[in-house]
């Protein structure tokens, strides 16, 4: 029903009226063609300002109506009606073609007719968010491939890892590039707290970005404002676009009564993507076992201290395995240890992973009456992860309420969300000691049997039993923990409690003029607890981190709308006060833990180490917007905003930026005969500037605490980053044009955009040679350009009463180019991968290039090989090995309906872009990956194709397999650069909606099933899903330091409405 949409006040054509006559009181009712009352329709006496909105029954009473007056009744999404005034009128409104009058939520939460906008906005219904309810690692992943130009790359797994979200490419060299998330007007903290170490693949945990806290069950719709024009009103933070989320609410003035909805989803997850590993050779280094003598008996002992798989070939030899030894030691070394066959593992790494199970339940109760509405929703989600000893529980409570004064002019509203989340046993990521995948793929023994590892990860005395023994008589782990020890003993947990929401009041001063005030709060406390047990390979350690942040936005808004003849005008004047405060407290044990298994900072062997950090930021803003329309055909709009930020130096902390957009609905000029084919056509254009500030404390130089080696005089040092007292705001200028067309009564349509944006004066820490005394300096420099095209096509090839097929395709191509860095600077380093290669920005190249040593090529482009070793040669210094970001992305969804059944299938894809894989590097080096034992290379060696001199003499030296694989570390970094192109079968869903009578107790019943991440195809997907490289939502992308297993999700949902 149209009236279930958010309503807007429409302004009506105004004609001069001269006749004065007697007046009457008009009572009336407005209904739709299906006899439902139309609530909130605007009824106006033509030529006057006398008007009113219809109440919950669709009724209105207007006094002082001239007897010969005309009433104009307007409601968004319906055709405007005019009727002769009478004491009792009844108006039936017809639905307008829906797709032509789509209303979207725009900046500041204002609903606008989409056709009037001069910029690109895409709206997605809330049901998209819950289609694969239990299978979403991060709720925003539901949007993957569904909105042209919105690029979401997600980490794998299910415990809420980070998603990298980009709209129209990277615009800031070092600042935030994630779009702003706004829920019902509340700007939500959406970034992650992952360490740089975690982002660059060095290790640590991926705690996910905070957009994770969105509650999919409470979302009514999502509106994505793509360009700077769309978001100019939100200011700097909307530089990267805005994702506006509107939550479900009760419907004041709707049918009086209660509604209850219930849904429950049971999901399972299975690891479906693991690297392909060799199964011919066991662990160690060298062909032989070491003879050892125990109780006078000789044994063959494998090389467990070496965590590589260059050991002896499986040949059924009887050897003294770590498991034999551990069992013997656990039994008090009675008698002689057993021996076992040297063979490929019966229980290989795939058996390590369990089946994850999730149950998500949502109950929502809504109540509505003529002047008030409330909705209470509670979501509980319980997940047992696919890794041993992992689980997550979430409780989300959402309450929204609104109430109107009797004249419906004053509205007060509240919307509060409370989230309580606790997680246990996230996977360590990157090159971390307890990332089991590092120990399965990069370093380890291929013959390890997971069942044995599980059976014996701990000795009876509580110490660790690791396969990676220092020696046959020394069980101390050399490099690796037993993977089960990592999971059960060295686990982390974390909790987050978060409240976000707003309180507001609005008053309709005049039918055309409305004032609104809202206080928006986002507050959270995030706690992280990380453990390394006594007896682990690394020293025992306990770390506790507490983060707390609040952000308060006071928002004042005055909106105006009126019509003058063929002209419509609208205006807005507003102010916003933003205050953000962040606190961080860190404590860690020093020199180990005294009591095993007791995790408290007091258990530290030496005095525990503590540190804290605070950050304050404020922005004051005023903004205004004015728009004009002519004959519903031509629209022009302009906005200005001024920000004052606490983070910039006095004198340049206030900055001003404008935007202007226009649109022309050219189909209005066409005769009806043309409109039967080309029903709607619009061109739009917009230009906007957006200013941007930076993080606090980049102006005044400080020192960093370093040591208390002399307890009487604490030692300080210079920081690595030099601040800059002359910073000025960043500036983005963007231009976009678009074309929207609808054909055949909505059966086919498209929306195409072209944009060009340039961000200059970027505030960034420029990497420097340490010889300058610093490794970076904050500078105001750099210029990045993004140009791109976006295309969204939708079509309904078949539509009958019982069957329909709709298809939608989104395509986006973004060309990014770094135009300038600081004068004389060619390259800006973002970070280094843990071992080789780094990520940076280079003039003339797309942002995010992988820098590393390349193959050495001769003049004809042949790879150069060292004639002595037969191995590839590498360049002396680092060169550009390719860009991290894709240049072409998109998605394709097909939805079907057969009677009460519905189904959809969604693919998404990404083309271009590369990543550096540390897993590939070490997986080759250590003899783990399939290639290290394929094609008899261990027996026969391998011939590197290439030339040995400038004359083009081909290489004939066969390299030893071991040396060849070692050359992945010693030789060109380019060998471990993989393509991140992929096509994914992202989502499949199937549902059945039971036909129910409106009068029955159960109003609606639906059963559905989903599958997510079911398949991936691409040039380099043999071992890894390219999305494994994502370990943060920040700018450090394109480095895989240690992967996470790829996971497929399946589940069933039941929805019931009472």
């Amino acid at each position: 029903m149209k009236r279930l949409k958010l309503f807007m006040v429409c302004l009506l054509a105004l004609f001069s009226m001269s006749a004065l006559a007697q007046t009457l009181t008009v009572k009336g009712k407005v209904t739709s063609t299906d006899s439902e009352p139309v609530v909130g329709a605007y009824v106006l006496v033509k030529g006057t300002t006398n008007g009113q909105l219809t109440d919950g029954e669709g009724q209105f009473v207007l006094e002082n109506v001239p007897a010969n007056g005309t009433l104009v009744i307007a409601f968004m999404g319906m055709k405007t009606q005019e009727v002769q005034a009478a004491s009792n009128v009844s108006v039936v409104m017809e639905a307008d073609a829906e797709y032509l009058n789509e209303v979207v939520v725009t900046a500041m939460g204002i609903s606008r007719e989409k056709k009037a906008l001069g910029y690109a906005v895409t709206e997605v219904g809330g049901d998209e968010m819950v289609k694969a309810r239990g299978g979403l690692n991060n709720p925003v992943n539901a949007l993957q491939g569904k909105i042209a130009g919105l690029q979401i790359t997600s980490s794998s797994g299910s415990m809420g890892g980070s998603s990298k979200i980009l709209l129209r490419g990277v615009s800031s060299l070092s600042g935030n590039n994630q779009p702003l998330f706004v829920i019902d007007g509340v700007p939500i903290e959406g970034k992650d707290f992952n360490t740089t170490e975690a982002a660059r693949g060095g290790g640590g945990f991926d705690y996910g970005n905070l957009v994770n806290d969105i509650s999919p069950d409470d979302i009514a719709s999502i509106s994505v404002l793509k360009g700077a024009s769309a978001s100019a009103l939100y200011g700097s933070r909307a530089n990267n676009g805005v994702v506006m989320i509107t939550t479900k609410k009760g419907n004041a003035g709707g049918k009086e009564g209660y509604g209850i909805s219930f849904s429950s989803t049971v999901g399972i997850e299975r690891v479906n993507k693991l690297p392909k590993l060799q199964k011919l050779y066991g662990g160690g280094d060298g062909d032989e076992f070491t003879p050892v003598n125990i109780n006078g008996k000789e044994y063959l002992y494998p090389d467990y201290a070496t965590d590589e798989s260059w050991g002896p070939k499986y040949d059924g030899q009887q050897v003294l395995t770590w498991y034999d030894l551990a069992k013997w030691e656990a039994g008090g070394m009675v008698g002689n240890p057993t021996t076992s066959e040297w063979k490929a593992a019966d229980n290989d790494i795939d058996t390590f992973f369990e089946t994850g199970v999730s149950v998500v339940t949502n109950v929502a109760i809504s109540q509505s009456s003529a002047r008030s509405a409330t909705r209470i929703s509670y979501t509980n989600s319980e997940l047992k992860g696919y890794l041993p000893n992992s689980k997550q529980e979430k409780n989300i409570l959402n309450v929204s309420a609104q109430a109107f004064s009797p004249d419906r002019k004053l509205e007060v509203s509240a919307n509060v969300n409370y989230l309580n989340q606790s997680t246990l046993g996230r996977s360590e990521i990157g090159y971390g000691d307890n990332n089991v995948l590092v120990k399965f793929v990069q370093w380890g023994h291929r013959e390890l049997d997971m069942k044995q590892a599980k059976d014996m990860y701990m000795f009876p005395d509580g110490t660790q039993a690791s396969w990676n023994r220092s020696d046959y008589d020394d069980p101390t782990p050399a490099y690796s923990n037993n993977p089960y020890w990592s999971r059960y003993m060295c686990y982390q947990n974390d909790t987050r409690n978060r409240i976000y929401g707003n309180l507001g009041a609005s008053y309709q001063i005049l039918p055309q003029l409305k004032f609104q005030y809202k206080a928006n709060l986002d507050f959270f406390v995030d706690k992280q607890y990380e453990r390394n047990a006594v007896g682990s390979q690394e020293q025992a350690k306990y770390t506790e981190i507490s983060r707390q942040q609040y952000e308060l936005n006071h928002e004042f808004l005055l909106t105006y709308k009126d019509n003058f003849g063929e002209f419509s005008v609208n205006g807005l004047l507003g102010a916003n006060l933003m205050r953000n405060h962040f606190e961080y407290i860190y404590g860690e044990s020093v020199n180990g833990l005294a009591v095993p298994g007791f995790y408290n900072l007091t258990n530290s062997v030496a005095q525990p180490d503590a540190s804290n950090y605070q950050r304050n930021k404020a922005i004051n803003s005023v903004f205004g917007n004015a728009g004009m329309g002519w004959k519903n055909m031509l629209f022009l709009e302009g906005s200005v905003r001024m920000d004052q930020s606490s983070t910039l130096p006095k004198g340049s902390n206030t900055y001003f930026y404008p935007s202007v957009t226009g649109s022309f609905i050219f189909s209005e000029l066409f005769p009806q005969s043309v409109k039967d084919v080309l029903e709607f056509g619009k061109v739009r254009a917009g230009y906007a500037q957006v200013g941007n500030d930076t993080d606090p404390y980049q102006i005044l130089a400080t020192y960093q605490h370093y040591t208390r080696n002399d307890p009487t005089a604490p030692g300080y040092r210079l920081p690595s980053n030099l601040v800059n007292e002359n910073l000025k705001p960043e500036q983005t200028s963007s231009f976009e044009v678009g074309l929207e067309m609808e054909f055949f009564h909505g059966r086919l349509g498209f929306d195409a955009s072209y944009y060009n944006s340039i961000t200059k004066d970027q505030i960034m820490p420029l990497s420097l040679s340490g010889t300058t005394g610093y490794t970076s300096k904050v500078v105001n420099s750099g210029k990045i350009q993004n140009t791109g095209v976006e295309l969204a096509i939708h079509g309904t090839p078949v539509e009958t009463k019982n069957f329909s097929w709709t298809s939608s395709l989104t395509l986006a191509s973004n060309q990014n180019k770094v135009l300038e860095l600081l004068e004389g600077v060619e390259y800006y380093k973002l970070t280094s991968a843990p071992f080789m290669a780094e990520i940076g920005a280079m003039i003339g190249e797309p942002y995010g290039v992988i820098m590393g040593t390349d193959y050495l090529y001769d003049a004809n482009g042949n790879k150069m090989v060292d004639p002595d070793s037969g191995l590839y040669l590498a360049t002396d210094g680092n060169v550009n090995l390719g860009s991290v970001y894709p240049d072409f992305t998109g998605g394709w969804t097909n939805s079907f309906r057969f009677g009460n059944f519905d189904a959809s299938i969604h693919f998404d894809f990404s083309k271009g872009g590369k990543y550096f894989s540390t897993s590939y590097l070490w997986g080759m080096y250590s003899g783990m990956l399939e290639e290290t034992a394929a094609n008899n290379i261990r027996e026969d060696g391998i011939l590197c194709e290439g030339v040995i001199d400038d004359k083009g003499t081909p290489n004939t030296t066969v390299a030893d397999a071991y040396d060849y694989c070692a050359n992945y570390y010693d030789g060109p970094a380019a060998q471990s650069v993989l393509k991140s192109d992929y096509i994914k079968l992202r989502e499949v869903s199937l549902g059945y909606t039971f036909p129910m009578s409106e009068k029955s107790f159960v109003k609606a019943l639906r059963l559905s099933a989903y599958g997510r991440n079911l398949g991936v195809w691409g040039p380099d997907v043999k071992h890894f899903d390219p999305e494994v490289a994502v370990t943060s939502s920040g700018n450090i992308q394109g480095i895989e330091g240690g992967l996470v297993a790829g996971v497929a999700n399946f589940g069933f949902t039941v929805n019931v409405n009472f």
């Binding site: 280094d285 060298g286 050892v292 201290a305 070496t306 260059w310 004249d407 002019k409 004053l410 220092s470 101390t476 490099y479 390979q537 690394e538 020293q539 006071h554 004042f556 020093v590 020199n591 030496a606 180490d609 950090y613 404020a618 004052q644 606490s646 910039l648 606090p696 404390y697 102006i699 005044l700 400080t702 020192y703 370093y706 080696n709 002399d710 005089a713 030692g715 300080y716 040092r717 210079l718 920081p719 030099l722 420097l768 040679s769 340490g770 010889t771 300058t772 005394g773 610093y774 490794t775 004389g824 060619e826 390259y827 380093k829 940076g840 820098m851 002396d876 210094g877 071991y962 010693d970």
Partner: protein
């Protein structure tokens, strides 16, 4: 209703008005201080420098293995001269950041705005001199690692906007360091404290800093002994001005050992839980008085056990002869059976409060012996001082008789004996030991590329079951000798590209290699000792 509305508006505006003003101090960092006393910066700089030299990376995997004091027990890439790019990039930057901190200490004592206030923490002239001396000590480490490196342009980003520092030719760099060292020595006022607190190296004793300056001058003079005819003049000047007179004067940094203020070698082994290193066999054999039979090489004291053996090579002895140096990783498995397990034994140099050596009194005595044409008196004084110094550091004791017997067994000074005794004394002082190896070619018994390396394989009772010997094959081209330098970091090729290219072009063959020699390294063959010429 309108009244209610008015009240709402008014109260909202009042509330907003109170908060609306952004105060300028909101952008003052509450987490880090803007100003600190100069001695706090000196204290931080001293530890920062020590942390980044005496650790398992710059020392453990580079200079300590190049000097063949340590050998890796499992992954031996660095022993075979293949550096880790990320380590090379980072440590180059760390060491220069160390230099920048010291230059800042100088500034805080020179700048009229800060100098008077900082005089409270020690005489300005002494603080400047101490910062300079430590800086020159560190620059000597830097240049002897990479060769020609930036100096005249460094740390001038704030004052002169220099983003790209040119690489100074090593010869002129040495001259500049020498001149600055003279300036620092002359500046010291021994009647005033250098620092009231915070100076871990000398507890603020200006006189000791002066002796350190002069002793450092002797070290640098002897480095250039074959390329600068004035080297003896420098030493004469230093002696005149006052060099170390006893072990008490030796320069070293003692870690507090409390909390995280521990020696980084400890961290590398115990916090990271890594058992990567043990005593290298060549060094063990020198201490144990054993010849290298595999290569038919020897040293002057075959049959004489060094009293320092018990400290340096804890756990070694009998068949445990240390980790053979530079064997391929796949041979380490069996050979490490002969290497003491330092992880479980925790020798003194892996303790939290180890005092890392920077320049010892004994080293000065060996330099003076060389200066006096390998005189016996200084040579013997050096040996005695070294044994006592190290016994003290390890909390041990060497009986006078044992010491005297040893000194007697060592015999009269020769160039080789002086070089090898100095090598033994330079234990844990990787860069200086490696520098002296490159300058003198001694000890002869170190393993050179192409020579045999290996040893016995032991069973759990320490009995020899077999032995493994292989050729020492470096992974990088080193022209048949112990590594001559470390490659310039690749980071510099992107962040300081033009200067990096110019510096690489000046290296032998115009490539960024490991065999280009230091300007003071004029040996013509592996075992050639320029001091003999």
């Amino acid at each position: 209703m309108k009244k209610v509305f008015k009240y709402i508006i008014v109260s909202v505006l009042c509330f907003a008005g109170l908060n609306a003003c952004i105060k300028e101090d909101m952008n003052v960092d509450p987490n880090n201080p803007k100003d600190i006393p100069s001695n706090s910066l000196m204290s931080g700089a001293e530890k920062f420098i020590m942390d980044n030299i005496y650790d398992n990376w710059f020392s453990g995997r580079q200079c300590l293995v190049y000097a063949q004091y340590w050998a890796q027990r499992n992954y031996t890439e660095e022993d075979r001269y293949q550096i880790r790019e990320s380590v090379n990039n980072n440590y180059f930057n760390y060491l220069y950041q160390g230099v920048a901190n010291l230059i800042k200490v100088e500034k805080l004592n020179k700048d009229p705005e800060f100098a008077p206030g900082n005089a409270v923490y020690g005489a300005n002239c002494n603080q400047i001199a101490a910062a300079k001396i430590l800086k020159i000590w560190l620059m000597d480490v830097i240049t002897n690692t990479w060769g020609s490196v930036p100096y005249s342009d460094i740390a001038k980003l704030e004052s002169d906007n220099i983003y790209y520092c040119k690489y100074d030719d090593q010869k002129s760099l040495y001259a500049a360091l020498m001149a600055e060292l003279n300036e620092a020595i002359e500046m010291i006022d021994v009647n005033e404290p250098a620092f009231t607190a915070g100076d871990i190296i000398y507890e603020g004793d200006a006189e000791k800093w002066k002796k350190f300056g002069n002793s450092l001058k002797c070290r640098m003079a002897v480095h250039v002994s074959k390329v600068d005819p004035n080297w003896k003049t420098y030493i004469a000047e230093a002696v005149e001005s006052g060099v170390f007179e006893s072990n008490d004067d030796s320069a070293g940094y003692k870690y507090y050992g409390v909390g995280t203020d521990y020696c980084i070698f400890y961290e590398g082994f115990y916090v990271d839980g890594r058992n990567d290193f043990s005593i290298a066999k060549p060094f063990y054999q020198i201490l144990a008085g054993e010849a290298d039979e595999a290569n038919a090489k020897t040293h002057p004291w075959v049959g004489t056990k060094d009293p320092r053996l018990q400290f340096f090579a804890k756990g070694a002895g009998g068949n445990k002869r240390g980790m053979p140096y530079g064997v391929p990783s796949n041979k380490t498995r069996s050979l490490r059976s002969a290497a003491p397990n330092w992880y479980s034994l925790q020798p003194g140099h892996l303790k939290t409060d180890f005092k890392v050596p920077m320049l010892t009194y004994a080293e000065v005595q060996f330099i003076l012996s060389e200066y006096n044409n390998f005189s016996d008196a200084e040579f013997k004084a050096g040996i005695e001082a070294s044994v006592k110094y190290w016994a003290n550091i390890y909390g041990g004791f060497v009986e006078t008789d044992e010491l005297n017997n040893y000194i007697a067994a060592v015999g009269a000074a020769t160039p080789e004996k002086v070089a090898v005794q100095k090598y033994i004394d330079l234990w844990m002082n990787g860069t200086e030991a490696w520098t002296e190896i490159r300058r003198t070619g001694y000890p002869e018994q170190l393993v050179r590329p192409g020579e045999k390396t290996g040893g016995d394989v032991l069973d759990s009772s320490g009995e020899i079951t077999s032995s493994v010997y292989v050729d020492f094959e470096p992974l990088e081209e080193v022209k048949g000798d112990i590594i001559a330098r470390v490659k310039y970091p690749t980071n510099e090729s992107t962040l300081n590209g033009e200067n990096w290219k110019a510096a690489v072009a000046k290296l032998k063959d115009g490539t960024n290699n490991y065999y280009s020699k230091m300007f003071w390294d004029v040996r013509t063959s592996t075992y050639d000792h320029p001091a003999n010429k």
